[in-house]
Every structure is written in structure tokens, then in C-alpha cells.
Point group: C2
Chain length 353, copies 2
Amino acid sequence: MARVRLQDVAEHAGVSMKTVSNVVHSHPNVSESMRERVQRAIDELGYRPNAIGRRLATGRTGLLALAFADVRLPYFSELANEVSKAAAATGSGYRLLLEETEGTIEGERAVLSASEAGLVDGMLLQPSQMSSREIAERHGDLPMVLLGEGPAPLTVDRVMIDNVAAATVATEHLANLGRTRIAFVGHEKSAMSSTSRQRIMGYQEGLERRGLPVEHDLLIDTNAITSHDAALAVGAALDRGVRFDGLVCRDDLAAIGALRALHERNISIPDDVAVIGWDNIAFASTTFPSLSSVAPNTQALARVALDMLAERIEGFDGIGRHRIVDFELVLRESAPAAFPTEEPDLAAATVSA
Amino acid sequence: MARVRLQDVAEHAGVSMKTVSNVVHSHPNVSESMRERVQRAIDELGYRPNAIGRRLATGRTGLLALAFADVRLPYFSELANEVSKAAAATGSGYRLLLEETEGTIEGERAVLSASEAGLVDGMLLQPSQMSSREIAERHGDLPMVLLGEGPAPLTVDRVMIDNVAAATVATEHLANLGRTRIAFVGHEKSAMSSTSRQRIMGYQEGLERRGLPVEHDLLIDTNAITSHDAALAVGAALDRGVRFDGLVCRDDLAAIGALRALHERNISIPDDVAVIGWDNIAFASTTFPSLSSVAPNTQALARVALDMLAERIEGFDGIGRHRIVDFELVLRESAPAAFPTEEPDLAAATVSA
DNA sequence: CTGAAAGCGCTAACAT
DNA sequence: ATGTTAGCGCTTTCAG
């Protein structure tokens, strides 16, 4: 059975294509009898509008690209889910095309040029390697919003949380717990991302505010953003005699790796070492001990990003808007509340931005 | 700057659209001088072919839908990554549209009807709720391959691992470790999926082969497929006096929850209770203790599925082919090798299907 | 080897 | 309120 087209329905019902189109779109100006007649033809023929034809005519595909390093990173898969929910909630009917850049500059370039092909109406991109300048040059006239604290040209919209502030809050929380030797774990050994850079800046700020030691030894880098590499790196640091009683982790992956390295060496968490992760991924609540973590408000992030992107798609052409969304420090067992008064209920304890 | 079209290039180069098209497609029958001239025009104008126009003309979008319950489940995000790599590797140039069904029948229906609209060339679907019959009826003429052990009509292609056999292997491995009271954890309390059903069948088979007790008490169900719910369920079972020394988990999420429940009660793993998960997600190697797990060969699964889908898209119209791909039992600390001879190197230890 | 023209299925002016 | 018609950007016979 060949596909049935708008035209076929029109003939079958003995009306023009325009009328069928009106019925399909529930256009107001259609008489009831007409609507019925056409609807019958549609049902009889089993007509389904063809998205491609429509899109060629309207210039809209109803597709948005969401591009980031790797879906396997829990932060990104949770973000994808959030964006897709937010898109559904707006009723705009947008669907998501997921693109992975592998965190490489080639990957980021590929994603930008591929999306120019008119397949998508706009793009949400979390860059990490490309320079601001290249992003600005390459995206051409594709409506785009940048996600995260990576490079961002002033001409392009961007939404992120205040990473420096959040890292400071996390570090100071450890200080509140009486920790004096606080290490940072999980930044890239080479080619440090702006994400890591900002979190380290905030970490240092926290230490300085509390008059705690800032030492290079307390910066534990990893080969890759995986819990496995973090476990190795933290283990190696411990084994070569680096001592710390608090750990601010670049992300929950690093934190989970750190937990393992500490467990292996019978170091008690949080008694000997308190640990704070970042991203508040789903697993954070079921590690042992459960993980305190910086929780970006990804729901707000998704909503704000989609709103801005929608405006760009509608034709808004102003200068780039840079938006900040809030975060919380979710306190769990690995770095609990400092004072009973700080938070009565650990499971829900938060310090807002 | 407005988009530059094939037409513009043709005019700029002073040739016909057909010639430009030939150059774009590296058609053999084009003189070298012509090719150069056109290529220059393409470069000067910065022409990028429009995917939608092409699709309308060819009937192909180069888009494949990958639909499953929820990207946040690590098995699925890892699968998505694998499929997208496999698609890239074939050079077919397919890109992936991710669709989430939320594991509900409405979600599955929505995904099937949305894809009918001609936006995608084919679909990879991991169903869980829909009946075989409904799948067969609804997918219409959309090329489709089913993933996993869910419902699958005989008329549709499907690829999966042998869940019953894998569960038996896992259960027998625990028996090899001398475990005699082996429980199963993580199936849905209500509306049990075929996935859970098959794994439980294999588990029972394993127990029976070894003459071990098969008791309803040893079936620990959960409210949802999350590590959090699994931790609660296992904790509750322990607290009401259920005793076991081995745990076959429906998936790694359940296993991670189980680890937490056991830790909380100071039960030693694997000494008191050995644990085997399922899916071999990335975290399995950095939990504490690290997790033994059934590892489906997702790479093969992705490849086989894409191959079959490609054939369907090419027009193959035979009866549904049901393919089985292999799996391994990856042995780590939570349920190590039974005998020194079984596997010298724990980290890489496997028992193949 | 290259050009002209007819669609692919739908939308949206513009008419009536 | 309904019909006509000209595209949207590309591919693809069919001629030349």
C-alpha cells in the first residue's frame, strides 16, 4: 500500500488540498459538514501527514540538536532527559537529536557543520575544546544556545551555574566540618577544561577565605573523566603519602572513584576524609556512604536554554545573553551537615546558591 | 546571509543544477575542469546541501530512531553510544534520534506513531509493555528492528542475548562459590517485564540444576528500576529475617542498591553474600567491592541490529529474523572466580556464553 | 558529459 | 468558507 498523500484525500473527498490542510490543522474557518466529510476521507484512507513535506514548506523541522561530549556520562544523560522533558512540556513539539562530540575539537566541529545542513531548527551545545572565536564563526546563522561553563562568545546565548561560587560553597562546607587539608580531585591531567579551571578557582577561594593551606600536592589530576581513573589517581596520591581530610571532586564520577580508593585503604568516610561530588547524579544517593554533591538546577537550566533557543528560532537577533541558574549543595553521608541546626533532615539538606 | 541553494551555485558557476548535483555526489561522469569550476563556486558560496530537500526527493532522511525507556539508565546510554558508534562505523552516515518511552505503553505507542511521519528511515526499539500483536500492527511499513527480550512478533526482526542462559550461568557461578541460599533481586513488584521474567526463569533453572532451594522468600522485588529502590528492598528483606549468601540481580542498578543495603548492615561482600549484577555498566568496576556482572555483547548487538535494519531499509521484506548475540560473565570482587584455575586474572575474568 | 524540467508532499499567499 | 497555484531544495529521468 503506497503512502496516501494530502492530494489523495482531497480527491477522495472531492475538495481542494487547502481544505484538507485546514481540517488537518483544525483551522477555525471550516464548516462543520466540510470538516466531517474530510475527516471521513482521512480516516478511510488512513492518511498521516508527511513531516518532510511539511518541513520543506515551512522551513521548520521540529528537531533540536543537543550536543555534548558523551551520553554515557550520567550528567549528560540526565541532562538529555531533562531537556527532552522540558521540550515536551513547552508543547512546541520539538524532538531531540543527540550528538556526541567525544569532548574533542574535531567532534565539536563536526557537530557544528553537520547541523548547518538544515536538519535541525536549533542547537544546544555544551562545548569544551573549541575557542569562543571558532564557535562564533562556525555556527553561522544556526540558532544556538551554549550550555555549561565552557568557552562562549559574547554573541551567543549561554546558560550555566556559577561554578566558582559553587566550588567555594563546597570547600567552605568541608571547612565547616573542621577539615583543614582539603584536596581537589578529578581535573584533566592535560588540556584542562574551563569546567575544571573554574571549579579549582572556587576551591582555592574557599580555602583562602578560611585561611587553609593551598598546596599543589592537594591537586589530584586524572587521565580521563571516569571513576576508574579517579580511583587510580586518588589511590596513587594516598600511596605516595599525600594526606587530606576533605575532598572536593570535579564531578561525582571522580567522587565515586575516590570512595573506592579510600575504601580499599580502610580510610573511613566521612570520619577520616569527607567527600563532596558534583552534579548530584542519581547514584549519589546509593553509593556507600551516600555522596554529598553540588546539584546544578538542571531543570531550570533546560528550561532557560530552551526558552532562549525558541526566541532565537523565532528570529530574535540581539547580543548573546548569558544566564546563570542556581545550584544547591545536597548533603548526604560523605560530608553531612556541620551543625544539627544547619539541617535537620540530611536526606534533603541543601545550601542554596 | 540567506541560505545558499543548489540553484545559486549553479548560477554562480554558470552550469545546470544537475551538474552541481553530480559534483556534490562525486558522480563519476564529470570532467575534471567542470568539477573544479563547480567546486570553486561551492566553496565561494559556502554551499551546504539541505537535508530536507534531499529527503523529499529521495525518500531518505539519514535518520534512525533509537527508542527505549529512559536514557538515564546506564545500560541504555551505553547502548546509545554503541549504536551511534556502530552507525558511524558503517559509513552509512546515519544519525540517531533518541526517543524515550518511559517504559510505558503510551510512550511506546507515541514513539511508534511519531516515527510513521516519515522523519526517520527506520527504528530500533526496545519495547517492554506493548504486546507483540500491537507492535506488529502499529509499526506499519516503518523498517524496524527490536532490541532486547521484550515482546516481539514473529514478523519483526529482533536481537537479544539469551537471558535465561545468562541467568543460569550467573546462578551456577554463585553455586560454584559454595553459595546455597541464592536470592534474586530487582524484578518489578507489579507488571513484571519479560526481561525480569526470563532472568528469573534462568535463575530457577540454575538453582534446580544444583539442587538448591527455590523459595518465594528469595525473590526480592522492587518498586522501580533504581538502585535506591533496590537498596530499600534488600534492606527490608534482611530486616525481616530473609537470609541468603548469594544474590543474582536483575541489573547492575539493583546490584548497586544491594551493595549499599549490605554495607549498611555490616554484611561482608563477598564473604557473607556474593553479588552478581547484570549489564556490566561502567560503574561496575568502581563500586566497592567491584561488581561481577553479566555483560551482554552490546557492540555485537548494535552491529547486528543496524545490519538488519539497513537490509529492511533497502527493501528486504522477509519474515522476522530473531538473532542472539553472546554475553560474558565478568568476574570481579563481589563474586570472584571460584577456583584459581577458573580465571587467573580477575579483572578480565569471563565465562562465555 | 551536461541541461531542462518534472516531481517529492505540503503550506500559504492570493483568489473567489 | 473554499479553491488555485506557486514554491520549499533537491534528485532524476529524459534529451541533447
